[in-house]
């Protein structure tokens, strides 16, 4: 029974308890606070936000590496149950994880072959020929050719870009239907970034993979995903198709983000950027109401600081959580 939606995230919350002297509860860090979204089969979405907005925690909760405090993740229509070991094993084989730092993610004492073989051994692919075939296939997909040259190398013998391709190969080896990539290129040189992102895009299209691409770099998302989710203070504040959001950013925070990005244009020397004052909120004690209101240029008094804005639809997939759109919605 194939399902249209590959992944459904419903009112997901992940809180971390702050303790004093190891046992006194003194508060909570609301890293993910009420996140809703769907991911279609074969679709790539980007989650964009600054550091500390909870985007990595969101990734880890989806990967079942963190226990959600509330809400539920459904994969292929099935609720993910983190306590059921067998179910979890199956889920982990269906979801690939591309880590941020390739050098830290690859064990330095294993060759590329062993790194790629290990997940298959664990998941009971006993046929040696089948394992070998998959390793060759995935390395060819990732343009690590000639495969014979790479297969016996250790991670330190590879360049940064090749290491990251190794990480992607490992996440792909069990033939998952979802990849979660947490800042896959932020540690790489700009000239290599595009290449890695294009490879990811190609994998996604060739194998009909769902991809969740977590990043702080808005300028690359246009090329590599269908939809953008903008995250701020533990919440998704704007969602929509890439072109809609870039052409018509609706949340004041999204506008500020787009404004802050430089284009490689020598005329920039003469203009200053508009940057909202202040810092992103602490997730241990977020401001009441809309999380962005202390920095917001379009702040409505008596409204924004009192109530959390609901989600308004702006047509199509475009949704925004902001009181400015109350009447239109």
């Amino acid at each position: 029974m194939e399902n249209e939606q590959l992944l459904e995230v419903k009112k997901l919350q992940t809180y971390f308890t702050l303790r004093k002297w190891g046992f006194l509860r003194v508060g909570e860090v609301k890293a993910v606070d009420g996140v809703d979204f769907d991911l279609r089969r074969g679709e790539a979405v980007s989650v964009v936000g600054e550091s500390g907005c909870g985007k990595s925690t969101l990734a880890k909760t989806i990967l079942a590496l963190e226990q959600p405090t509330g809400g539920q993740v459904y994969f292929n229509g099935k609720a993910i149950d983190i306590t059921d070991k067998e179910h979890l094993e199956w889920y982990r084989s269906q979801v690939g994880y591309v880590q941020q730092d390739p050098y830290g993610a690859l064990p330095p004492f294993m060759t590329v072959r062993r790194i790629l073989e290990e997940p298959m051994v664990i998941n009971g692919i006993k046929d040696h020929k089948e394992r070998e075939r998959r390793i060759y296939q995935v390395l060819e997909d990732l343009k690590m050719t000639p495969v014979k040259e790479f297969i016996n190398k250790f991670p330190h013998m590879l360049s940064g870009g090749q290491q990251q391709r190794g990480v992607i190969a490992r996440s792909k080896i069990l033939e998952p239907s979802l990849l979660v990539a947490d800042e896959p290129v932020s540690m790489l040189d700009p000239s290599v970034r595009v290449e890695i992102l294009e490879l990811l895009r190609k994998l996604q299209l060739d194998y009909n993979l769902g991809v969740i691409y977590i990043t702080h770099d808005l300028s690359t998302v246009r090329y590599f995903s269908e939809r953008i989710f903008v995250m701020y203070g533990g919440k998704l504040i704007e969602k929509g198709e890439v072109e809609d959001i870039l052409a018509n950013p609706s949340h004041p925070y999204t506008r500020a983000l787009l404004e802050a990005i430089s284009d490689p244009d020598p005329e920039n020397v003469n203009t200053f950027k508009k940057v909202p004052p202040g810092e992103p909120p602490s997730l241990a004690s977020p401001p009441p109401g809309c999380r962005f209101h202390p920095r917001c240029p379009d702040f409505i008094e008596g409204k924004c600081e009192k109530e959390v804005p609901p989600e308004y639809e702006l047509g199509g997939e475009h949704k925004v959580s902001c009181w400015l759109y109350e009447k239109e919605g």
């Binding site: 595009v194 490689p264 940057v275």
Partner: protein
């Protein structure tokens, strides 16, 4: 027109390190000139020698230096001729200051930021000299946009963007003739990054500071650049006014690099560079870009000369001979 006196000029600067595996040629034959009040950005991939060039200008070198020569003119004085002690007393931090990479995490956590910022100014640390230094610290804090009461705080009480500004204040407090900024925004968030760039731009316009900005982020560097240099494998392959380089790069490497920068405004096909830069360990005597160059021909087997294609626009490539 600017006189010689107002220029900062680097001529034929070489820097190499000796390692167990051979000589690493980090900086090779770099020549450029900039005027007071201008900002030059130095762009390149990691490992291309851009940080080494910055450190070579400031003589902050490790012990295994094999070859370090060339001329560096500051206010028409060749500072390479100065003795080590004289350089330390008169040039380093007084005339040329640096904001090193990831410096915001290197503030001493148990000393108040004011003490750390005034350190370059005080020799004995008591009495009148100290008070004057504090006065100056207040002034630079205002310049970089840090509230005055932050002077009495400890580094952990400040956010990343504020710490970066404190580091910047530390470099500016001696009113140097040249400030070298090594990746000043790469560890920061997007909005903070835009904020720091605004600060740099403002102090450049108001005070006429001269900056060398070392970065790999081409899009952000365009915010500040008057001049731009592209480094590849230890060599400065193209150098010109930023406007020309961003609009019409000549060197095949620069062209590829510019084409790989994603843009929000326009939809363009992104390109990338296949392959890797050559190892700086005993580099080949051909053009360094030969293996990856789409336009290479026989002549590229020899090292290309620096060619002036337009006034003030140097390219190190045989295509323009």
């Amino acid at each position: 027109m600017n006189t010689q006196n107002d220029q900062f000029r680097v001529e034929n600067l070489y820097l190499s390190f000796s390692t167990r595996r051979g000589t690493v040629q980090a900086v090779e034959d770099v020549t450029f000139t900039m005027n007071r009040g201008q900002t030059m950005v130095l762009v390149g991939e990691s490992g291309c020698g851009k940080t080494s060039l910055g450190r070579a200008i400031l003589r902050l070198l490790p012990r295994n230096v094999q070859d370090y020569r060339g001329k560096v003119f500051l206010n028409s004085q060749d500072i390479m001729k100065l003795s080590r002690e004289k350089f330390r007393r008169e040039i380093r931090w007084k005339k040329i200051a640096m904001v090193p990479q990831a410096a915001m995490n290197s503030l001493n956590p148990v000393i108040k930021v004011s003490e750390q910022v005034i350190e370059p100014l005080i020799k004995r640390g008591t009495g009148r000299e100290r008070r004057k230094a504090m006065e100056k610290a207040r002034e630079v804090f205002q310049l970089v946009g840090v509230p005055q009461d932050f002077l009495e705080r400890y580094p952990f009480e400040l956010s990343g963007g504020m710490r970066q500004r404190v580091i910047l204040a530390m470099a500016l407090i001696t009113n140097p003739d040249l400030v070298i900024l090594d990746e000043p925004t790469s560890a920061l968030d997007l909005l903070t990054q835009a904020n720091i760039m605004n600060v740099l731009k403002r102090i450049k316009q108001e005070r006429g500071f001269t900056f060398i900005l070392i970065t790999h982020d081409i899009a952000t560097s365009s915010e500040l650049a008057d001049l731009a240099g592209i480094m590849y494998a230890g060599q400065l392959v193209e150098f010109s006014r930023a406007y020309n380089l961003f609009r019409e790069p000549f060197h095949p490497y620069s062209r590829k690099l510019m084409a790989s920068v994603p843009s929000l405004q326009e939809k363009k096909e992104l390109e990338y560079l296949p392959g890797q830069p050559p190892s700086l360990l005993e580099p080949p005597q051909t053009c360094r870009f030969l293996d990856r160059c789409p336009d290479s021909f026989e002549r590229c087997e020899q090292e290309p000369p620096v060619i002036e294609v337009k006034e003030g626009h140097q390219v190190k490539c045989w295509l323009y001979k």
